[in-house]
Structure formats: structure tokens, C-alpha cells
């Protein structure tokens, strides 16, 4: 008998041992799902939104965004104050005296110099290196180092003398450090003063300083891991330092456990200068990658906040939220009219599971590209090189039908590239009218007639003789449905033949980069709070100008804005630039602005903001009614007029 039972016993003993060896921690005050797991906490190399979200909890930059202002205003961070020189080129940051690392060591201006130098090394291939290249001398430094490394490779590729090569690599590195100090406009004047010189007035430079790639890393730790490769002379960044217990950070929390693809544990960092403001003691970031399971985890109370809901039934969640608002129509309308943000409205409405999904218009736009080159890839003349043709095609898209019937989670239709009201002080152009602006079929036909007249004017009186218009898009994410809807519009209202071109993502990307398309789907999320984050995409030499659009007038306005030091005049110039591409030239036709979906109970959790920048700062989250922290949810200031932001149906005011 024992012999039969033995395997069973062995399994049972093994099971007990493996369960016991798991050392569970008590549940954290707040459990969050941050999408899939963080891929890197190496600040200078990150670019994914979940990485940036995690970084903001652990680290802090010179300044921070006040997320509860509609302008996303700048407030002090590690720097308690700063000055900008009269020519708007030199920033002097004064670091606060009690700025400390999580190990209690003082944080100094030198730490920023060290961190920003990392970002500017071609060796590290930082995704956001372009943002750092606004600093004076940085492009020259980057190019110098790139060349020096190439030269090193040439000189030493055939050599067997490892010792001499290693020596040369070390010398090159020493020279690189000196060169950086000589060339680049970042200097620590003393431990608590950082001076930064930019190439031209950059009104959004402080906004960049609030961006996680500009946050500091702890030099004594990181320099143990950034190792010089004596074979190539390059600095190789090993990211072992981003794990606990090694990781040293300077933000509201410190990392105490990271089990890959499972969970991360954050505990309040008592060394943070503003630790008293933190309303939660511990936070856990779980990594549930399945989008549907994330929602389930929220519904069963395992998770309190979902940072990014992409579940297949997001559409149904949106419909339920609408029906909830419909049931409380009068209250909803009156709160909205008073200017309350979405979460405040939800807090004021009765408890209901339907209200926990929040659909926030985001800082991103979905559009269709037009190839603007004179010739198509196959050598035929390109009709889309003519702006009148592009306007005609842009006008005959029913954006509202795409948003309502194809998408179904309340994206606002877009007539501009930059989401309205997302940047303080910026006035969006009206944009080109399109089919969705028409209320009746007669009005739609009138717009279509106008569009066909534009085509005729451009030399295409008979649309049926127009070349077959190809729509390029990649598989997945419903791009095919959007493509079909647009093709149908163009068939019906312009009468042109169309062809759908669905491609694998890799092929799609290659086709975009090689301008191997007539029209194609595209999208963009802004990186920082300035119109140029969208407008620069249409600059002649921008790496993302897949349309190959180029006009001197547009370019000139952007250049003029770059030199303009008066913020209001600068914004006006940029607005004129957007008017050109959105009303006259249409290198791309915007369809809708993205909507970001969060899930949390607004009556139980305070701290998430409803700003279109969708940049959440979890360091400010507060479990309402737990006796810790203020227990009052911060809210956006009331808006003087009803804005499109608060409205779920995306209707303009």
C-alpha cells in the first residue's frame, strides 16, 4: 500500500513545500494593473507608457506637472525654484536642500548631469534622444561620439592587442566625459544649482523636465552597471540596477519587490521631501496581461485601478456607461453644464457598477495619410500631390459613422490634428468640413458635389476614370473596418474606385517609411504639451513625415514660432501652421481623437486626473475614507464653459 501511496505522498509534500516557500506580503493599500509588465525602469532608455507611469511613482524630475489644472501647469519638483534668462535660453534650477535619494544620500545637480549625459550617448540608443537634443551643443556631442566610435571600430577591428585596445577605449571614454562638459549646455554650478542652456527658446522645456526620461538616476549605482565594452569602446547599459534591493530612487515610493510578469511592490519612501503628502503606504502593481482578465480582476475587487483598459467588450462598457448617464440625464447635464470633470460627475451620481469605466479623450489622433510625392511608387503621376484632390477626399469621409458604428467607445471626431483644449493657451483651427458636419442627406450631397468640383478643378472631371485609390493599413485593432468605411464613402460620394491593402505590421511599417502607398492609416500620441509635438510630424525632414509633405509656408511658420519668445504670439503662429495643414493642404485627414479607458471607482479612489494628456501620477492616489491622507479627491477646476472634454458623446460645445 505504501508503495502505491508514495508518489502521492511525494507530490503532496512537494506541494506543501512549494506553497510554504512562497512568502506572501499583506495586501497593499492600493493594487493597480499597469497594463502588461514594465519593460525597463532605466529612465533614459524608456518610452512605453507603462514604464513611464511606473517611473513617475519611483522617481521625480526637476519639476512636475500639476495634473489638476487644464493647462497641465508646471510646479516645483526636485528644483524648488528656477530662473529663465532674458533671451529665454538659459535655465537655472535651484535644487531643494532636502532632496534626497531613497538611501538618504543627498541628490545633487551633478546627478542630473550624469543622467542627461547617459541619454545623449549614442551608445545607449535612448528612444527619446531627440528631446534631449534641444539642449545646446547636444547634437554636436552626439555626432562627435558617434564618429569617434566608428573611428575606434575602424582602428581596432583587426587588432589582436587586447590590452592596447582596452586602454584606447578607456581613453576615449575619458575624452567623452571632457567633451560633454565642454560641448553640452548642462552644468552643475554647485551641488544645488543646475544650469541648462537650450539651442533656441523652447517654451515647453519645463514640460520636458517633467517627463520621466529627464528624471535623475543614482550615479554611484548606475555606474556599476554601465560598463565600458573594451572591444568596441561603447558604453553598455546593463539594467540590473533597476531591481530591488539595488534600486535607489528619489520619488514618493521605493521599489521593494519585482517579480517579473507577476507583480511589483512599492512602499512609501520616507526620504522623499514631500513624503507627508503621500496618502498610501504601499502599492502593488500586478501584471495581468489578458485585457478581459484585467476587467474581471477589477470587478471582483482584486484590483482598484486599471490604467489602460483594452478589453474586447470596451464597446459594451461604453454603452453601459451611456445608459447609466441616460438614467440620470438631468443631473448629468446639470453637473456637466457647471463644468465638472467626468470623475466629479461620477462621484455625484448614485453608486452603480456601470459608472466605473471612464472614457477620457486622449492626447492622440487617428488619421489617414496622403502620399504627397509627385509620383507614385510605380512611376505614375500622383493625383494626391494636388492639395485640391486631398481636400476632396478628406471632405468625403463620414467620421461620425466611423466613430459611432465602427469604433463605438465615444471617440470625438477630429477636424484638427491636435486634440482641442489639450494644450493651455492654444487655439485650434476650425478644420475642414466633412460629411459628418451635414445633418441631412441633401447637405451631404452638397458637400460631395463641392468635393467633386474640387476634383474636376484639379483635372479629374470624371471620377470613374480616377486611378484605383489604395488604402493601406495593418491587420488587427479594427483598422480593416475603418478602411472599409472610408473606401465606401469615397465610392459613394466621389465615385472613385478603391482597393483595400491589408498588410502585416512589419510590411506596413516598411511601406510607410518608403512612401509605398497612396493613402494609409496612421496615428500619433503627443509626447509633450506643445503643438509642435504634432506639427513637427509634417516638417520636411522629420523622421515621421511618411507623407513627404513639404511647403515653405508651413515650414516658415514653424521656424518663426521657434524664434518667437512671446508665448501668445508663438501659439498664434503655430495655430496658423495647423490651419494650413488642416484646412488647405491636408497631407493627412484626421478621423478621430483617441479615447483612453480607465477603470476605477471614483467614490473610493481619488487622484486620477481626467486630463487628455492621460499622464497619471499614482504617487498622488488616495483611498477615500481610509483615514490616511486628505481623503478628499482632487478635482479639475470648474470650466467656465461646457467643453468637449467632459462630454462622452464628443460633441463640440
Amino acid at each position: 500500500m505504501l508503495r502505491v501511496l508514495l508518489p502521492v505522498l511525494l507530490l503532496a509534500v512537494g506541494l506543501v513545500l512549494s506553497v510554504v516557500s512562497e512568502r506572501p506580503l499583506p495586501r497593499a493599500d492600493l493594487v493597480v494593473n499597469n497594463g502588461s509588465d514594465i519593460s525597463t525602469l532605466d529612465l533614459q532608455r524608456m518610452s512605453w507608457s507603462m514604464d513611464l507611469r511606473g517611473a513617475r511613482v519611483l522617481f521625480e524630475g526637476l519639476v512636475a506637472n500639476d495634473q489638476f489644472t487644464w493647462g497641465f501647469d508646471i510646479k516645483p519638483g526636485v528644483a524648488e525654484r528656477w530662473e529663465l534668462s532674458d533671451d529665454a535660453l538659459t535655465y537655472t534650477f535651484h535644487l531643494r536642500e532636502n532632496a534626497l535619494w531613497s538611501n538618504g544620500e543627498p541628490l545633487t545637480a551633478h546627478d542630473f548631469v550624469f543622467s542627461w549625459r547617459r541619454a545623449l550617448l549614442p551608445d545607449l540608443a535612448a528612444d527619446y534622444v531627440a528631446l534631449f537634443q534641444l539642449i545646446d551643443g547636444s547634437v554636436e556631442f552626439y555626432d562627435w561620439r558617434t564618429e569617434a566610435l566608428a573611428e575606434f571600430a575602424d582602428n581596432w577591428s583587426g587588432s589582436d592587442d587586447a590590452a592596447a585596445r582596452a586602454q584606447a577605449a578607456r581613453e576615449l571614454w575619458a575624452l567623452t566625459e571632457t567633451k560633454f562638459d565642454d560641448m553640452v549646455g548642462v552644468h552643475a554650478l554647485d551641488d544645488r544649482t543646475l544650469e541648462v542652456r537650450v539651442v533656441r527658446p523652447v517654451p515647453y522645456f519645463l514640460d520636458l523636465c517633467a517627463f520621466a526620461t529627464f528624471f535623475p538616476v543614482y550615479p554611484p549605482l548606475v555606474s556599476q552597471y554601465d560598463q565600458l565594452d573594451t572591444k568596441t569602446g561603447r558604453m553598455i547599459a546593463e539594467a540590473g540596477w533597476t531591481k530591488p534591493p539595488e534600486l535607489v530612487s528619489n520619488g514618493p515610493f521605493r521599489l521593494t519587490r519585482w517579480r517579473f510578469k507577476r507583480d511589483m511592490r512599492f512602499e512609501k519612501n520616507e526620504h522623499w521631501w514631500n513624503a507627508d503628502s503621500v496618502a498610501i503606504d504601499s502599492m502593488s502593481l500586478v501584471s495581468i496581461s489578458d485585457p478581459n482578465a484585467q476587467v474581471l480582476a477589477f470587478q471582483t475587487g482584486a484590483v482598484e485601478f486599471l490604467a489602460d483598459v483594452t478589453a474586447a467588450y470596451r464597446r459594451e462598457m461604453y454603452a453601459k456607461k451611456r445608459s447609466f448617464y441616460d438614467e440620470h440625464r438631468s443631473e448629468y447635464e446639470s453637473l456637466l453644464a457647471q463644468g465638472y470633470d467626468q470623475y466629479e460627475i461620477d462621484r455625484n451620481l448614485p453608486d452603480d457598477p456601470r459608472k466605473h469605466a471612464h472614457f477620457v479623450p486622449a492626447f492622440g489622433t487617428y488619421w489617414y495619410n496622403f502620399n504627397c510625392k509627385p509620383k507614385l511608387p510605380d512611376g505614375r503621376p500622383n493625383p494626391f500631390a494636388d492639395a485640391r484632390v486631398r481636400r476632396a477626399f478628406a471632405m468625403t469621409i463620414d467620421k461620425k459613422a466611423i466613430v459611432e458604428e465602427v469604433r463605438g467607445f465615444g471617440e470625438p471626431t477630429a477636424n484638427t490634428l491636435i486634440p482641442r483644449d489639450s494644450i493651455g493657451g492654444y487655439t485650434s483651427p476650425k478644420g475642414l468640413k466633412c460629411l459628418s458636419d451635414a445633418a441631412t442627406e441633401a447637405e451631404r450631397q452638397a458637400i460631395a458635389t463641392e468635393a467633386r468640383a474640387l476634383l474636376a478643378e484639379a483635372g479629374y472631371p470624371d471620377p470613374s476614370q480616377f486611378i484605383t485609390v489604395e488604402l493601406l493599413f495593418n491587420k488587427d485593432s479594427g483598422h480593416d473596418l475603418i478602411g472599409q468605411a472610408i473606401a465606401k464613402n469615397w465610392n459613394k460620394y466621389l465615385g472613385v474606385p478603391t482597393r483595400l491593402m491589408q498588410r502585416e505590421i512589419k510590411v506596413f511599417r516598411d511601406d510607410l517609411k518608403n512612401t509605398n502607398f497612396m493613402t494609409s492609416r496612421a496615428g500619433w500620441y503627443g509626447d509633450y504639451g506643445d503643438p509642435t509635438t504634432f506639427l513637427d510630424l509634417s516638417r520636411k525632414d522629420d523622421g515621421n513625415n511618411d507623407r513627404k509633405y513639404h511647403t515653405a509656408e508651413f515650414e516658415g511658420l514653424l521656424d518663426e514660432a521657434n524664434l518667437e519668445t512671446d508665448p501668445a504670439r508663438r501659439m498664434a503662429l503655430l495655430s496658423r501652421a495647423e490651419t494650413i495643414i488642416m484646412e488647405r493642404d491636408l497631407p493627412m485627414v484626421p478621423l478621430f481623437h483617441y479615447v483612453h479607458t480607465y477603470m476605477f471607482d471614483a467614490s473610493k479612489l481619488g487622484g486620477p486626473n481626467a486630463h487628455p494628456r492621460t499622464k497619471q501620477w499614482m504617487g498622488g492616489f488616495d483611498i477615500l475614507g481610509d483615514g490616511k491622507g486628505p481623503d478628499v479627491a482632487p478635482a479639475m477646476p470648474l470650466r467656465p464653459i461646457v467643453q468637449s472634454l467632459g462630454r462622452l458623446d464628443g460633441a463640440a460645445p
Binding site: 508518489p7 512549494s18 539595488e246
Partner: protein
């Protein structure tokens, strides 16, 4: 016995070496560059080139050699002996921070997740999969053997037919169907278990049951077959003639022999249960190792592919050895 164990353990590196060579040869042929990320931003070409050189991805031969050296501990040893390790430890001590962690058997970095080393991925995920796998096998053995015995007592009786049907369902219904049904019933309709995540004892049973079903069904079939064969043999008749009770006959005499095929099945089955539960992990959001098998190949994450394959191979070999040892103990006739 000790000779057997020693012999098998000596074979282990040899077998692993063959598996390593074959797997690497196959994985190397997967089209695409692991350093190019189709969704993310692309590093500039010269950086990709430098990374390829750094990881020895530019030639099969140099990758083969360098990976072998670091995975077998040769690299670690040479760093220890050359004083390189001591130098870096001193450097870190001077800076007042912890020295970079070093692994004796270093399975390399993950090419997809920049911050993570394959060793970390395996040590984070393996305990979860081991717990889940052990629980599943425990359920499978208890349920499977009982069902097999019950079925064999009265062949073609009601109990036999129902266990047969259940076994058939267990074998043929895919995990994700059973898992999803259990998830909906136990997680949403009658919410008694934490349906997502891992970390509490209450989270173990449902995924474990889901994972155990095909194994339980197979064990039930094996047990029933063995029982039927032995129940009609001479030594059972002798036992009954001696006046042994029916329970004693079934458990002491028949089951003891019928259990042998089950035992030899347990080795590979346990190894599979501990590593091959991608679907169950996905349905119940269990952070185990199964997901990495799939992701590694999809991303052509060469280091991760090699890491998980080598771990799986080692487990398979060790469990088979354990079963062989048990086998001899259960059935001393085997030499």
C-alpha cells in the same frame, strides 16, 4: 541503485548538450531579427550592429560558444579566478552600493525585456509553475486512480461507463474551454474563488483542477486497463481462494501491479504539468513559466528560448530518473 543514479546524472550533461545544439540550431533559423521590435521604436542601425556584436548574435559559432561558457559556469569561474569579480566587488564597495549580481549559471539577458535576465525570469516564474503542476498532478493521481479502480470493479457497469465518459471529456475537451467554464461558474456566478492572480492558497485549486483533467483522464484509463488485466489473472484468483477480502484483493494485489504503468507515466507528466500550462496560465492569469515558452519563440528571444528549453529538458530527465528509482522500489523484480 546508486550506480543507476550516478550513471543517469553523468548522462545528463551529454543529453543537455545534444538538446542545446539542436534547439539552438532550430531557433537560429527563426526568421527575423530579435533586436528589431515591430511595435516599438527602432534603435539606429549602428546600435543594432553593436548589440549584435555584444551578444555574439552575428555568428552562430561565437554565440554557441559564449552561451555555453556562461550557462555552464565557465565564464563565472574564469571571472573568479582572474580577479575580475573581486575587482568589481571592490569598485561597488567603494561607491557604497551593492555589487552587480552574478550568476554561476548565467543564462544571459532577455532580448525582449531589457531589464530582465533569463535567470530572473525562470526564478520568478518557476516556483509558480511548480506549485501549480504539483497540485494538478496530485489531483490527477488521486482522481484518476480512484476512477480507474471504481471502473474496473464492475466493467461496463454504471460507474465504469460514467467514468469512461468523464475521462473521454477530460482528454478531448481543450483546457481553455474547461478553464473558461470554471472561471465563469466559480468566479462570476458563484464567486467563491479569487479568479485572477496568484499568491493565495485559495487561488490554487481551480487552475490546478483545470490543468489536471487530461492527466487524470489518462491515468484513469491506464489504471482501469491495468486493473482489468490483473483482476483476471491467476494470482488474484489465488488471493480470493485464500479468502482475502475483496478490498484487500483490489488494493494490495491488483492495484499494486496496475499502478506500475501509471508510475512510469507520472515522470514526463509531472514535467509537462510544471512547464506546459500556457493555456491554463493565460485563462487564470497565473504568472508561470508557460507564457515564456510561447513569448520567447514569438519574439525570437534567443536567450529566453534556450533558457526555458534547457530547464524543461533538465526537469524531464530528472523526473524520469526519479520515476525509475521509485519504480525499482515499488517493483523489486526490475533490474
Amino acid at each position: 541503485m546508486i550506480g543507476l543514479i550516478a550513471r543517469r546524472l553523468l548522462q545528463l550533461p551529454l543529453i543537455l548538450g545534444v538538446i542545446y545544439t539542436l534547439t539552438l540550431w532550430l531557433a537560429w533559423g527563426i526568421p527575423g531579427n530579435p533586436l528589431e521590435n515591430p511595435e516599438g521604436r527602432q534603435p539606429p542601425p549602428e546600435v543594432i550592429e553593436a548589440m549584435q556584436a555584444q551578444y555574439n548574435l552575428d555568428s552562430f559559432g561565437s554565440f554557441y560558444g559564449s552561451y555555453l561558457a556562461s550557462a555552464t559556469g565557465v565564464t563565472w569561474l574564469s571571472e573568479e579566478l582572474s580577479g575580475e569579480a573581486a575587482r568589481r566587488a571592490q569598485e561597488a564597495a567603494d561607491a557604497g552600493v551593492a555589487a552587480p549580481r552574478r550568476y554561476v549559471f548565467d543564462l544571459g539577458p532577455s532580448l525582449q525585456y531589457r531589464d530582465i535576465r533569463v535567470n530572473t525570469i525562470i526564478t520568478d516564474a518557476m516556483p509558480v509553475s511548480i506549485t501549480l503542476g504539483l497540485a494538478a498532478m496530485l489531483i490527477a493521481v488521486v482522481v484518476g486512480v480512484s476512477a480507474g479502480v471504481i471502473g474496473a470493479i464492475r466493467p461496463n457497469g454504471l460507474a465504469d461507463v460514467s467514468t469512461l465518459i468523464l475521462a473521454l471529456i477530460g482528454i478531448s475537451l481543450p483546457n481553455f474551454v474547461i478553464g473558461t467554464i470554471l472561471l465563469i461558474v466559480l468566479g462570476i456566478w458563484i464567486p467563491i474563488i479569487p479568479i485572477v492572480g496568484w499568491g493565495t492558497i485559495a487561488a490554487i485549486p481551480v487552475p490546478a483542477i483545470t490543468l489536471s483533467l487530461p492527466f487524470a483522464a489518462y491515468i484513469a484509463r491506464l489504471t482501469r486497463l491495468g486493473m482489468l488485466e490483473h483482476l483476471s489473472s491467476d494470482f488474484i484468483r489465488t488471493a480470493r481462494a485464500k479468502g482475502a477480502s475483496e478490498t484487500r484483493v483490489i488494493i494490495r494485489h491488483a492495484l499494486k501491479n496496475a499502478f506500475l504503468p501509471v508510475l512510469s507515466y507520472l515522470g514526463p507528466a509531472t514535467a509537462f504539468a510544471m512547464t506546459g500550462s500556457f493555456v491554463v496560465e493565460r485563462v487564470f492569469s497565473v504568472p508561470g513559466i508557460g507564457q515564456h515558452f510561447v513569448n520567447a519563440v514569438q519574439n525570437k528571444d534567443l536567450f529566453l528560448i534556450m533558457g526555458v528549453v534547457l530547464i524543461f529538458a533538465t526537469m524531464l530527465i530528472l523526473f524520469n530518473l526519479a520515476v525509475d528509482v521509485l519504480y525499482r522500489w515499488v517493483d523489486p523484480r526490475i533490474e
